[in-house]
């Protein structure tokens, strides 16, 4: 049993290992994975006692590693180093026999010779026995050292075997042979700890994987638990697909290749690259990252989404005349479509038919059963249609080129009407032009002392309709965060982030219908109804229902509030997610209609779950 108890290692003011704890018992094979500089080798050096931890300790069979003599250690533990060089012309046999030096004084005994024979055989180096080490290839040398290390522990049944990148330089056969030997010894009672670089070999042979990152233990568990796409990306910054074979239960990781254009990093080759049009760069990038979405690519290029989209003008993209209200009036004819509204951290997708279009001085409205939208058309500046294969959509952008709203055709949509619509609104000029992003200036928060807090409290407590809230902010010169902070007693309570997932989960289980508001500056999309299928993946929380999809990136959530607004129908409770700039990411209400009090089940959901 080896116990590592909050081990840290510091050298020259750099903390190479931070508070690492784990233990391993006989019969286990643990693979240590991690990127370069994650602390793998340092950890190995502490385990093999080459270095002493600056904090914490390592217990080996209950005794501190430091209390063992070199001889005692050698009898229970052997280490195969990553780098092994032999400087004199020792023969293979002689080197393997070195592993037995602790076992005899002047002449090797029968069992020493047997250990040498057996280990040489299993490592496949019998035929090299009398060759000089200096004439062997790197992989062959590594096998000789493996045999030496095994020989050291050959008559021990519960020893600790430490392998620091044991298979570097070995061919395919011996990569597997080596790990198979290690796994076989582990299954007979050995403790094996091995640093590996090949994730798939680790998944295949190790019982457990310890993933290090930045000197910390990041994950520790079975290969299936530890090796997920997200973990691999976190540890190695490489996108990978992960599958587990249902028969063998072996996890396979297929990393996505990286495609680079030399022009992007070698200034001598940059002429071509710099002369490439944005369209060519976009296509090259798409080829290299087939899964990346246009929004993310635009971010990587440091341009707006609309600008990037315009590279398809004349091809799959058509610029429409910016007659937003007229276009929207025609959308009902498309039949069943999907409405998409997003902000930086949230995507709201709802399927249905656009119905009951109307315009008020503030906003245009769709008040349909399924599609429920508030549209601030003054922000809408660009309209496009995009047709890629079966994928047809109308996309609307603001003056900076950020998407405000998108409408995707579904299988049930009326495609002919779509073609008619596009033909009708197609702009005369389809030429590429530059979109200049407009910098957003946030009004600085006013000092609390300048605010009529008393009046604000009174106004909040006497609201007749929750819609008055926006006017309230305006009237008292408050931004949303400040308003929540200065709210009257019991009207705005900050909650833990977990409350969001738990509330949605409660609503899903108890079939509480909700209203989910997702918005940006140009559009608010409201989903009214139930949520059923919850699928969190990493930092993304997803609702994946047939007619409604929601994706929330919880990494972007900076605060979560339970807000209570009075109305003529009683208190209205909502759960509101804000980003670091104090902008709304998402709001959740119970399903309600004017004139009817809020659902009691929604109140229960909030009361029972909020933490």
């Amino acid at each position: 049993m080896l116990r590592v108890e909050s081990v840290s290692y510091e050298t020259g003011n750099r903390l190479l290992l931070k508070d690492i704890s784990f233990s391993i018992k006989g019969g286990e094979m643990v693979a240590i994975l991690g990127a370069n500089g994650a602390g793998k080798s340092t950890l190995m050096k502490i385990l093999c006692r080459e270095k002493q931890p600056t904090a914490g300790r390592v217990l080996f069979d209950g005794k501190d590693l430091r209390e063992y003599s070199a001889k005692e250690m050698a009898a229970k533990r052997a280490t195969l180093y990553q780098q092994n060089s032999v400087t004199m012309a020792f023969t293979v046999q002689e080197v393997v026999m070195m592993g037995r030096y602790g076992h005899y004084s002047s002449n090797p005994a029968e069992r020493d010779l047997r250990a040498m024979q057996e280990t040489m055989e299993v490592c496949g180096i019998n035929y090299l026995a009398d060759r000089s080490m200096l004439t062997l290839s790197g992989g062959e040398q590594q096998r000789v050292h493996l045999a030496r290390v095994l020989a050291q522990l050959w008559d021990n049944k519960e020893a600790l075997l430490l392998l620091d990148e044991p298979i570097s330089g070995m061919d395919l056969q011996y990569q597997h042979q080596t790990l198979a030997i290690a796994a076989a010894l582990a299954s007979k009672g050995f403790m094996v700890i091995s640093v590996l670089h090949d994730i798939n070999l680790a998944a295949q042979y190790a019982d457990r994987i310890l993933m290090l990152k930045g000197g910390r233990k990041w994950w520790d568990g079975s290969p299936m638990e530890v090796l997920t796409s997200q973990h691999i990306y976190t540890a190695f910054a490489v996108h990978a697909q992960v599958e587990t074979d249902p028969k063998t239960l072996i996890t396979h990781v297929v990393p996505e290749g990286v495609l680079l254009n030399a022009g992007t990093f070698n200034s001598n080759m940059a002429i071509n690259y710099n002369n490439m049009t944005l369209k060519e760069k976009y296509q090259a990038y798409q080829q290299a990252h087939p899964k990346k979405r246009i929004l993310d690519i635009a971010k990587d290029f440091n341009i707006s989404e609309a600008q990037l989209l315009m590279t398809g003008l004349g091809d799959q993209v058509t610029l429409l005349r910016p007659e937003m209200d007229n276009i929207l009036k025609q959308v009902e004819n498309l039949g069943h479509v999907m409405a998409l509204t997003r902000n930086e951290y949230c995507v709201n997708e709802r399927k249905g038919t656009y119905q009951n279009f109307s315009q008020t001085p503030h906003a245009a409205l769709f008040l349909g059963e399924d599609i429920d939208l508030r549209l601030f058309l003054s922000k809408w500046k660009l309209a496009f249609s995009v047709s890629e294969g079966d994928n047809n959509s109308l996309q609307f952008f603001d003056e900076s080129g950020n998407a405000v709203h998108k409408i995707y055709l579904t299988g049930q949509s009326d495609k002919e009407n779509f073609i008619k619509l596009v033909a009708h609104f197609k702009a005369e000029q389809q030429a590429f032009f530059e979109i200049k992003p407009v910098l957003k200036t946030n009004r600085p928060e006013r000092r609390d002392a300048e605010i009529d807090i008393q009046g604000f409290h009174t106004a909040w407590n006497t609201m007749k309709d929750s819609h008055e809230f926006f006017g309230l902010l305006h009237r008292f010169g408050l931004n949303r965060m400040q308003a929540l902070r200065l709210a009257p007693e019991g009207r705005a309570m900050q909650m833990s982030l977990e409350s969001f997932r738990r509330t949605i989960a409660h609503c899903a289980v108890n079939e509480v219908p909700v209203m989910i508001f997702t918005g940006n500056e140009g559009c608010i999309q409201i989903h009214t109804g139930s949520v059923k299928n919850l699928a969190p993946t990493g930092s993304w929380f997803n609702v994946l229902d047939p007619e409604f999809n929601l994706h929330v990136n919880e990494d972007g959530v900076s605060s979560l509030w339970h807000v209570v607004k009075p109305s003529t129908d009683g208190d209205v409770n909502s759960l509101e997610l804000y980003n670091k700039d104090g902008e709304v990411i998402l709001q959740v209400f119970g399903k309600r209609k004017p004139g009817i009090p809020e659902l009691e089940t929604w109140r229960e959901a909030l009361a029972g779950i909020l933490v």
Partner: protein, 352 residues
């Protein structure tokens, strides 16, 4: 370790021992006064009481007992010391090009010796009368020890001697001692210069029973003890960390091996002056003949070292008799062609 290998090693041991025995017999006979080999044998048998009835020329007997025997024994001791220390130091440094001189032994000894010769009448006059002939020997032994100690202490990083630092520290100490030696040489007069040059080239000319007796333990202890570190030295070849994992204390081995080598080489150099090439060439030749296992290399190097020095001294005494050549000249003259031959023939084997 195979049957073939151990057989080969036995052959090498036997040939070396036989060669050494013959070389001793011939060496005893050769010189300004020639003594036939049979007479040499007869004197031995007589002295050991095995054949008391054989009588030999008493002149032969005296020369043999008071001139030749101590000289041959001195050659044996010094050769064994240089050979075994050379192989041990190469083992420690994991470098076949290392030699005892690298850790400052020779430079330290030279510096002290040259100081004593050059400044004899200025500083050491009083002392010189008290210690007589031994002043030079003790001084250079002290110089060898101090230089080696200094190099060893300088090489310590985190309390452990580091081989790379040891090499660099050795180079630095060598350069420093060399410069000081040069300075004193520059200041020396004609007579001193001759003495210095002669000392620097090495000679067994100072041999007598007293010298042999006092050198004996300094060589015998390392020759007996160093082979006990053969497993340790083997492990050094695969790396210090690896050695530690197999249960060794590399720091301790390093300290002891360096100590023993300094003891042997420092004591030898102090009585004979610097005899080059033996410490470098002998271990190489042994490795090329019978493999690199120190269990074999260490004793075999002692044997071959003794053999080489005995033969060299014999040549030094006879080639230009009655003039005696410095032995360092012979070892270098003989050693270099052999070394170059091996080098050309087996470049790869020798250098890595």
């Amino acid at each position: 370790m195979g049957v073939e290998g151990s057989f080969k090693k036995k052959i090498i041991y036997i040939s070396l021992s036989a060669g050494l025995l013959l070389a001793i017999l011939f060496s005893l006979g050769m010189g300004a006064m020639k003594i036939p080999v049979l007479d040499v044998l007869a004197i031995f048998l007589n002295k050991t009481g095995l054949a008391a009835h054989i009588t030999v020329d008493p002149m032969y007997e005296n020369v043999l007992q008071f001139v030749r025997l101590p000289r041959v024994l001195l050659g044996l001791l010094v050769g064994a010391a240089l050979g075994i220390s050379g192989s041990a130091i190469q083992g420690i440094f994991r470098n076949p090009l290392a030699e005892p001189g690298l850790i400052g032994i020779s430079a330290g000894a030279s510096f002290m010796a040259v100081s004593i010769i050059g400044l004899e009448f200025v500083l050491f006059a009083g002392l010189g009368k008290v210690l007589g002939f031994y002043l030079l020997a003790f001084g250079s032994f002290a110089g060898a020890g101090i230089a080696a100690m200094l190099v060893y202490q300088l090489s310590k990083t985190d309390g452990k001697p580091n081989v790379a630092t040891m090499l660099l520290a050795g180079i630095a100490i060598n350069a420093l001692a060399g410069a000081l030696t040069g300075l004193i040489t520059y200041l020396a007069d004609e007579q001193q210069l001759r003495t210095i040059t002669f000392w620097m080239l090495g000679s067994l000319g100072g041999a007598n029973w007293q010298v042999v007796n006092s050198l004996f333990p300094f060589v015998l202890i390392p020759v007996i003890c160093l082979p006990f570190y053969s497993k340790g030295l083997n492990l050094f070849a695969i790396g210090e960390h690896q050695a530690e994992q197999i249960g060794l204390n590399p720091g301790r081995i390093k300290a002891r091996v360096v100590f023993l080598a300094t003891l042997a080489v420092g004591a030898s150099v102090s009585v004979t002056g610097i005899i080059g090439f033996v410490g470098l060439l002998v271990p190489h030749t042994i490795r090329l003949m019978g493999g690199v296992d120190h269990k074999f290399v260490l004793p075999a190097s002692a044997l071959l070292g003794a053999l080489v020095l005995t033969l060299s001294d014999m040549l030094a005494r006879t080639v230009a008799a009655p003039i005696e050549l410095p032995i360092g000249v012979i070892t270098a003259l003989l050693g270099t062609p052999v070394f170059l031959y091996i080098l050309v023939k087996d470049k790869k084997k020798i250098l890595y």
